[in-house]
């Protein structure tokens, strides 16, 4: 057990270092990109107003000093104030975050439900027409650009059938189209993964032993195959978090879903540095934390592998 804990501690340190490096690079790059006072204020602004603006936001100080101040404040939970509406950047992000989590969570649930069912079903009918048809649909799913799918759904369900609303987040009905849009590519990848994993595990000796002692197909899958596929599935989903968040940026923009992705697109257009930095930090933290969680679960399931991976510096 100590070796497992050591492995987890090392992983956690790596996660924190990764997070810190990411936000540092983004901070320095964005400050180096140009003077926000030039970009935010209209061109006819008098020089003394510009100077005052810089002093008010601390933009007149050298970048390392600005960074030190920013980092100390972030640790205390203060992300600065939005350049555009003066609200605390932290509050702006905290308002958007649950909506992205709701959207992503719903999409993940739909994708797991449909994808696992389709993938396991395809594996059990390996090399039949049903298998090829299901996998064909899965490829269609993950090749479909989210913005095109979103537009097709709007055309069909909003403009023609007039069944569902297309923009905003005011009622639960508003969740349906963006969640389906975000879920479809993920469903395709989950189905494919589940098929491969099931085929792989079904060929192992312990499954044949379970079948041989008279267990039914369903019992073998539920009691023996699925638990053994859980860890690979979890690691697969850990990788998918980044893809899902990237997809959420486009999905949220199409459906005017007021989450993190739309907030980022809006704030980069307004050159709203504090909010952009807060969003980037949140996104990075979500990805790093979910990968760490997957690693920790993996470490408890298989201590030897995990320690080797950590010390070896990744695979």
């Amino acid at each position: 057990m100590p070796s497992t804990l050591l492995a987890i501690a090392l992983r956690a340190i790596r996660a924190v270092v990764t997070l810190l490096l990411c936000v540092t690079i983004v901070f320095v790059a964005l400050r180096a990109a140009g003077d926000p006072a030039e970009q935010m204020l209209p061109p006819e602004t008098p020089p003394d107003v510009r100077a005052e603006y810089r002093a008010a936001w601390g933009l007149d100080r050298p970048i390392p000093a600005q960074y030190a101040t920013w980092l100390t404040r972030v640790v205390e939970g203060d992300f600065g104030r939005s350049f555009s509406d003066d609200a605390p950047a932290f509050d702006v992000v905290v308002e958007a975050l649950p909506r992205t989590l709701l959207l992503g969570g719903t999409a993940l649930f739909l994708a797991l439900l449909a994808g696992l069912t389709a993938g396991v079903a395809a594996a059990l009918r390996h090399d039949t027409f049903a298998d090829r048809a299901l996998m064909g649909v899965a490829v269609l799913g993950y090749s479909m650009p989210v913005f095109f799918l979103g537009i097709l759904l709007i055309l069909l369900f909003v403009l023609h059938l007039r069944m569902l609303p297309s923009s905003g987040a005011s009622t639960p009905l508003h969740l349906i189209l963006p969640a389906v849009t975000l879920a479809l590519p993920l469903t395709g990848r989950v189905a494919r993964f589940a098929r491969t994993a099931t085929l792989e595990v079904m060929g192992r000796p312990f499954i044949r032993a379970a079948r041989a002692k008279g267990l039914g197909r369903i019992a073998v899958i539920v009691r023996h195959a699925l638990p053994n596929a859980a860890i690979p599935l979890l690691m697969f989903l850990g990788i998918e978090v980044g893809l899902a968040l990237s997809g959420a940026v486009v999905t949220e923009t199409i459906f005017a879903w007021p989450g993190l992705g739309r907030l980022l697109v809006k704030s980069v257009t307004l050159r709203d540095l504090p909010v952009v930095q807060a969003v980037i930090l949140t996104v990075t933290a979500i990805i790093v934390a979910s990968n760490l969680l997957v690693d920790v679960l993996h470490a408890f399931a298989d201590p030897k592998v995990e320690l080797a991976r950590t010390l070896g510096g990744g695979r």
């Binding site: 490829v139 650009p145 494919r192 993964f193 491969t196 980044g242 940026v249 980022l264």
Partner: protein
Amino acid sequence: MSVAEAFPARRGAASPVVIVCILWLVTMVVVAAGADLIAPTHYTTQDLTARFRPPAFLAGGDLRHLLGTDHLGRDMLSRLVYAVRTSILIAFFGTMIGAFFGTMIGVAAGRLRGPVDLVAMTLTDMQTALPAMFVAITFLAFFGNDIVLFVVMVSLDGWERYARLARGLVVSEQATDYVRAVEQLGARSSRVVFRHLLPNILASLVVQATLNFPQTILLETSLSFLGLGVQPPGTSLGLMLGEGRLHLLNAWWIAVLPGLVIFFTTLAMSLFGDWLRDRLDPTVDPTR
């Protein structure tokens, strides 16, 4: 080992589906290369008296604009042809740059180990933690959009996968007897890497590039769709779709036609990549 040996004899012929995919991809390359010859008009030619003309196969369409016109009366076919050129070129250069640097970093990490390995793996961890989409949106907005920066941003997508793959392959390949034999014969490190290691891991990297290409197209089109990629008066498939989104109700074809082209291209490339992987059967993770 030569390149021909790296791609062993075919195992299983191409199915009709794969042949259709290859034909589609070849068509896209031909369209991109011959855009100036194929397009009936230039992509910026406007005809304000012929706005929102539907494609010729729909009621109200005419043969002068086979695929209709957009909100400025520009010929959709011509715009699609040039958009294919832009999108394919950007995705191609993005993939090549990402594959090249990713592979180099991975090979260096696997070969040199130690501090180089640590730095390389930290960089791949950072790329995983902050996906290319977010880096691209932020940097393109703040640094101002130009085509070089855009291609660099697109190339960020997936380089870390080549790096991890190449590193893993180099580490396991180096332990084989033939590499040790070559080293003990006194071969320089560069000879070992370029004459022996790279040709042996090439097949896996080519498959990875094929499977990564659709993702790169999706990143390019997504960014242009959001208005952060290719800028008007230029044209790209994503930009066309973004413009068409405003006219869905009365002119759906402006958005749907470029969407279909993107969809068919990513689909064809994915199926082609799957087939290539089955044929070459390298050590690529079958789930990706």
